[in-house]
Symmetry: C2
Subunit: 200 residues, 2 copies
């Protein structure tokens, strides 16, 4: 039997992806599951649904609830929440850098550092200097921001986002075990359990 | 200290309300929490959001996922799922009868019987004969269907639905502990825990 595997699909602008990104390494390690981190963009997927911003902005009552729910759940994880301004943030540069970072040992640390900058410190992650500071803090090499902006790397992110649509994703975080889809931070345990029970 | 209290707000047409309605009595009893069952209508709330049907119909990928997720979670509870046709069902008559039933010992049994009829047997709960059969099966008195259609009882359901909007509800199931809102079957444990920790 090979080790159970899980794909973690996340969007940097997504609030509940923040919770999953922070707790996933320990949860997956405890469950004995190997995780493939897949940054993607929700913007193009939301646009097809007719949304030009976060549904938490479009539906006010749902948005108010989300921030309260997020704070409650973050609190249990020992995390703080600061709403970034604007919300949602544009996470495209962070996602492009993450693609490169995740090929290296610093990848997960970089993703978590971006999430903390955005949702714990309230920094603007569309600002290249914020992303560069996060890259620097985790020890990524100089020039990673420039490398992230190459045509090849930009195309790779578009292809990943197309793959998300093709595989039925409509929100983040999402977890895939083969074709079995789980949506939402609150489905992380279900997804890990599925990965363990269906490992081949 | 008084006994911890929780309000359970549910819409009969709501798929995840089915799961909560079936598992709530045991979960609340284990937690030592007293539950006030509050049937309401999502239709008027969705209409304000610009939806004329279930969001699971409007957003196809989300809808496909919901039915799969519902089946997985129902399976763990030992429940079966059959998609009713049409979906969503019109639950207004069932909600009106539930208001009366919940004043009596048969109330919870009636609600669970309606949910099983709809989501386990795929029956149409907008059909008065289906609702009447459920009422009869749990021992509600003859004439309850007619009593449910009184102007006073209709008005009571409208007022409950207005109260839902006023208190920030935007979906079902929802749980309220005082003004603290929890949304979704997957927040039931959080809500019970909150009720216990904040009982006065």
């Amino acid at each position: 039997m090979t080790k159970p595997k899980l794909e973690f699909w996340f969007e940097f602008a997504s609030t509940y992806s923040y919770l999953s990104a922070m707790r996933l390494p320990a949860a997956a390690s405890n469950a004995g599951v190997e995780v493939h981190w897949r940054p993607f963009l929700l913007g193009p997927i939301f646009a097809v649904q007719g949304w030009d911003t976060s549904p938490f902005n479009i539906y006010a009552a749902k948005g108010r609830y989300m921030w309260r729910d997020l704070a409650r759940r973050a609190d249990r994880l020992g995390l703080t929440v600061e709403k970034p301004d604007p919300f949602p943030q544009n996470g495209i540069l962070a996602a492009r850098v993450a693609q490169i970072a995740l090929e290296r040992p610093e990848g997960i640390d970089f993703c978590q550092t971006i999430y903390r900058a955005q949702f714990s410190k309230g920094l603007n992650i569309s600002d290249p200097s914020v992303v560069a500071a996060c890259a620097d803090a985790v020890g990524l090499p100089d020039g990673v921001i420039e490398a992230a902006q190459s045509d090849t790397n930009k195309l790779a992110l578009r292809q990943t986002t197309d793959e998300a649509t093709r595989r039925g994703l409509f929100g983040a975080p999402s977890f895939l075990v083969g074709d079995e889809l789980f949506w939402g931070d609150d489905r992380l345990e279900d997804a890990l359990d599925w990965a363990v029970r269906h490992a081949q």
